[in-house]
């Protein structure tokens, strides 16, 4: 059963100008995106900066209102929930942010920060709250003694663990992780990723795991969605994407993964992207080595090329 379904999601930002904020155009941050997250699955969402990944995350947690399309959570459209259903939704879907430092209130001890969701969701007994906070600190690998410290006394990795503990406090089923490790040191990244995987088992979680780097996705996700400028380019199993990448953009992303070997230097120069408003047809053609005349005039539809392997490209 699918836990969350995103159907033809569109989020446009108006471009305004002048004194009266006249609308002179719009940025199509997310332009018709569809995907599903199954119960217990972790889905990776990859693409370069500005391709709309974070906007999708924000639309799912209702920080951003979609221009069109729907987000369905367990059969209900999240933008037409009753007050009680909304409360329930706020408990079941949580977000972990990119910048661990900015995601904690600098004037609140981390123990209080993790306790706060419990207060918001009506756990009245202070003893029980305390016990739950201690359990959460254990679960994310933090020392209980650190509960009374302030965020600035922690490292980036520790702060991200605190953010994770806070998200877990409400016992969510789905966690939207918006580039949770990209602000961390490489050595810490692996630890935090391992924590994510450990928690998925023990808390029975589903993930939407956003990254701009396919190597982060490789060990954590079951399936991958590759996005480019607001649209899905390719969607398939993680294994399949590394073994048989079909879209030229996916191949480009794979080539961009650094290889820790100074002898093996690759040619990694790509032509610059052209602003999307200028482009007709496939949004990738200007950077694509295989673009034909058809790509310049017509936008490719998403087609299923194998079992669960979808690609939007004329070349496959």
């Amino acid at each position: 059963m699918s836990l969350l379904e995103v159907i033809n999601l569109r989020v446009y930002y108006p471009i305004t100008s002048g004194l009266l904020s006249k609308r002179i155009g719009e940025v199509k941050a997310v332009d018709g995106v569809c995907f599903k997250i199954m119960d217990g699955e972790s889905l990776g969402l990859v693409g370069e900066s500005g391709c709309g990944k974070t906007t999708i995350a924000k639309a799912i947690v209702k920080l951003e209102k979609p221009t069109g399309g729907r987000v369905i959570y367990r059969g209900r459209d999240i933008n037409s929930l009753s007050k009680n259903e909304e409360r329930e939704y706020r408990k079941e879907v949580q977000m972990i942010f990119q910048d661990p430092h900015a995601s904690l209130d600098p004037r609140m001890t981390v123990g209080d920060a993790v306790e706060e969701p419990l207060i918001i969701h009506g756990v009245r007994d202070p003893e029980e709250r305390r016990r739950r906070v201690e359990e959460l600190f254990d679960a994310v690998g933090l020392e209980r003694e650190h509960m009374r410290r302030y965020p600035h006394e922690f490292s980036g990795g520790q702060k991200q663990r605190i953010g994770i503990a806070r998200a877990l406090a409400v016992k969510p089923r789905l966690i939207i992780a918006d580039e949770p490790v990209s602000a961390l040191d490489i050595s810490v990244q692996a630890q935090v990723l391992n924590l994510f995987m450990k928690l998925q088992k023990s808390f029975n979680l589903s993930y939407l795991f956003i990254a701009h780097n396919l190597s982060v996705i490789r060990n954590t996700c079951d399936r991958v969605v590759v996005m480019y400028l607001g649209k899905v380019m390719e969607m398939t199993d993680t294994e399949e994407i590394f073994r048989n990448p079909l879209h030229p953009y996916t191949r480009m992303l794979l080539e961009a993964i650094p290889i820790p070997d100074p002898q093996r230097r690759k040619k990694r120069t790509f032509p610059p992207a052209i602003p999307r408003r200028v482009i007709k047809g496939c949004r990738f053609w200007a950077q694509c080595s295989e673009a034909s005349d058809r790509c310049r005039t017509e936008e490719p539809e998403m087609i299923e090329v194998g079992a669960g392997h979808y690609v939007a490209c004329f070349k496959v």
């Binding site: 209702k62 706020r90 949580q94 942010f97 900015a102 904690l104 918001i120 409400v170």
Partner: protein, 300 residues
């Protein structure tokens, strides 16, 4: 004590001027609260001891002698009985200044407090809700800002008669605009921070976000604004009293200053003493404000 408070305390005390300001203000507050119990009645008139100079000073008076019909010069010395001298009605200046400190601090703190509460609530609300709410509140602030507040004060005092509490309310109700602006700009940048978004995702109420997270985070600005606006208010009250629109039933520093200005060439101390006190008080609050601002600024 809260560890954050301790940290900022240490940073503030790094500045000697701020430490001086704080010590001065603490002494002033103690004097204002307990002083009047030890000094005499500030309103006790005694013409036999009028125009006495402060201790250590002397002044020459021309006295008309009725018997000889001539003017003779008498040297009057200040005495310890009235260490700061007396005014033209023989009232003890020390007693007047001490009770004046009470008035000045009362006005300064209450009016500033009122202005800060209004200003921060309007500023934070405006920033947090944005859009129409923001526009409406900020245009209202603009209108309030263009109001010539001193003129309004003069007008109201003229209509309703001078009363200290009325002056406080008027200053409070008109003086919040700067705070609202500053708090709003800070809260605007806070609102986009991820911890506020995390709270929304957690389903927190707006009330909780505003009072538990936004206000504590703009508190540094509020405190700094308070220390900087208190002297402004004290000066406003003094100015009002100076031009004769103060509350006549209380001996504020401004009123003493006003009374002394006519005889600056002879009984200079009546005007100079409250003037020095006003000057030092304003300076002390400003030093403390500067120190606090630097302490709250992580880049310093």
């Amino acid at each position: 004590m809260n560890r954050l408070v301790k940290y900022y305390w240490k940073r503030t005390m790094r500045s000697r001027l701020a430490a001086f300001g704080l010590v001065y203000i603490i002494i002033l507050v103690i004097v204002a609260i307990f002083g009047p119990f030890f000094t005499g009645d500030p309103n006790a008139v005694n013409f036999a001891e009028k125009n006495l100079p402060p201790v250590g000073f002397s002044i020459e008076h021309s006295v008309y002698d009725i018997k000889s019909g001539e003017f003779t010069t008498v040297v009057v010395k200040g005495s310890l009985k009235h260490p700061l001298g007396t005014d033209d009605k023989g009232r003890d200046l020390l007693a007047m200044l001490v009770s004046g400190a009470r008035v000045s601090l009362y006005v300064g703190i209450l009016a500033t407090g009122l202005a800060l509460i209004i200003g921060s609530v309007i500023g934070v609300t405006s920033a947090y809700f944005g859009g129409v709410v923001d526009n409406a509140l900020m245009r209202f602030t603009d209108i309030m800002m263009t109001f010539p507040f001193f003129l309004l004060l003069v007008l109201i005092v003229f209509i309703f008669g001078p009363s200290l509490n009325l002056i406080i309310v008027v200053i409070g109700l008109t003086g919040w605009t700067g705070t609202a602006r500053m708090v709003r700009s800070e809260a605007l940048s806070l609102r986009t921070r991820e911890f506020i978004q995390a709270l929304i995702v957690l389903g927190s109420s707006n009330k909780r976000i505003i009072f538990r997270h936004l206000i504590p985070n703009v508190l540094s600005i509020i405190i700094v604004t308070a220390t900087i606006s208190i002297p402004g208010v004290i000066l406003a009250e003094a100015a009002l009293s100076f031009i004769g629109l103060g509350d006549p039933s209380v001996a504020s520093w401004g009123r003493i200053l006003n009374a002394g200005q006519d005889s600056l060439d002879t009984t200079w101390w009546v005007a100079v003493e409250p003037g020095i006190l006003l000057f030092l008080t304003v300076l002390a609050f400003n030093f403390l404000g500067d120190g606090l601002r630097d302490a709250f600024d992580p880049t310093k």
